[in-house]
Symmetry: C2
Subunit: 191 residues, 2 copies
DNA sequence: CGTATCTTTGAGGGTAATCAAAAAGGGTGG
DNA sequence: CCACCCTTTTTGATTACCCTCAAAGATACG
């Protein structure tokens, strides 16, 4: 049984804020359906998305009393808000924190040492894995979100998509759906 | 009283391995003196250092049973090895994990969205802060380590050092010592 | 003092960013 | 259902930043 099932979920329309940088950390959150982006901003507006959260995943715990990040619904999203003091939540804190840490560290390697093609390939594989390892991958986020997650520009992301498509590595049945055609090639590309 | 004080420390010479990727996670580690680098490798040898650990800091906890990273002593280093089951260690796990998460997420912003000058400036400020906020900062690591931490090449790191020096923002009393002369300028540069 | 390693500096090239515009998609109202 | 508009995405041309390759200079160590 998933954490907090039975509690009501709150609905967030696409683009709406779940919490902002500076807000008090009052709760934990679990995605019921939809998707969430976690990000920071530089003073000149540059944005780095540090994580996406998909259905079933939890987020919202931070080291400080106040949030250092923004959280927004990417699309229509249902969120369960959990009291952080509930014992069954407390028990999950450490595993969740470690999971987030692994993801962040994985992302450090991508941002620090991989080129554009490798970043996009790694992104497709990550999204596929998190959606059950299927070849049909849904991308709830825009190209701009993907760019800000991968440390690239939207144009570069688009160009790499086109390149992988023309090479027959992926297909794009629609803007927000990717089909992985040559899995092995994609894995090789991710280095 | 620091964690595990009274237990003997193990000595690691410069460059020696503390644990390797794939090793079982058997312990937690606390730096007594010296410094440690935590890193991953890509198959072609590209290296990303995800963290440095200085005196007093702990490391070695991971989400999996096996280490996903390498840990090496940067210079002559003393390490206390702690049993992860000791109650006073267990109590520290969550705060430590969250602290590591914050650092990793901070680094994501640097690697994803900042240019070479901003990265180096942020690095100096981070090292200064972690050494008590002094203007005299010691760099136990080589230029190559710094480059692999900041996602740059050694040449670019060296050029930025020279540029900041020529602008009078920093002084370099020796290779491994930096003096922050114009703190405000450095902070502005870090964006 | 000599050698090996690390760091700095220089020249040139490549990848991704920027600037710009066309194309595609999505939503609304007629 | 279709036409229109606005937003997102794609594609193209050019620029800029950082990487690569190369060599000189500095530092550490035996």
């Amino acid at each position: 049984m998933p954490l907090g099932s039975g509690r009501p979920a709150t609905f967030f329309p696409a683009g709406s804020e779940i919490y902002a940088q500076g807000d008090l950390c009052a709760s934990l959150y679990q995605v019921e359906f939809g998707a969430v982006r976690i990000y920071r901003l530089l003073s000149d507006g540059r944005r780095q998305i540090s994580a996406f959260h998909l259905a079933g995943e939890m987020f919202g715990f931070e080291a400080d009393k106040n949030h250092h990040f923004f959280a927004e619904a990417i699309c229509s999203t249902g969120i369960r808000i959990l009291s952080p003091s509930a014992s069954h939540v407390v028990a999950e804190l450490l595993p969740m924190a470690l999971q987030s840490l692994v993801r962040a560290q994985e992302q450090l390697l991508v941002l620090g040492r991989q080129n554009a093609v490798e970043r996009v390939a790694a992104f497709f594989l990550e999204m596929s894995e998190r959606q059950g390892g299927l070849r049909q991958v849904e991308l709830p986020m825009s190209r701009l979100d993907i760019a800000d997650y991968l440390g690239l520009t939207i144009e570069t992301v688009s160009r790499v998509f086109s390149k992988l498509k023309s090479k027959g590595v992926i297909r794009l049945p629609s803007l927000r759906n990717v089909e992985i055609v040559k899995l092995q090639t994609l894995q090789d590309m991710a280095a």
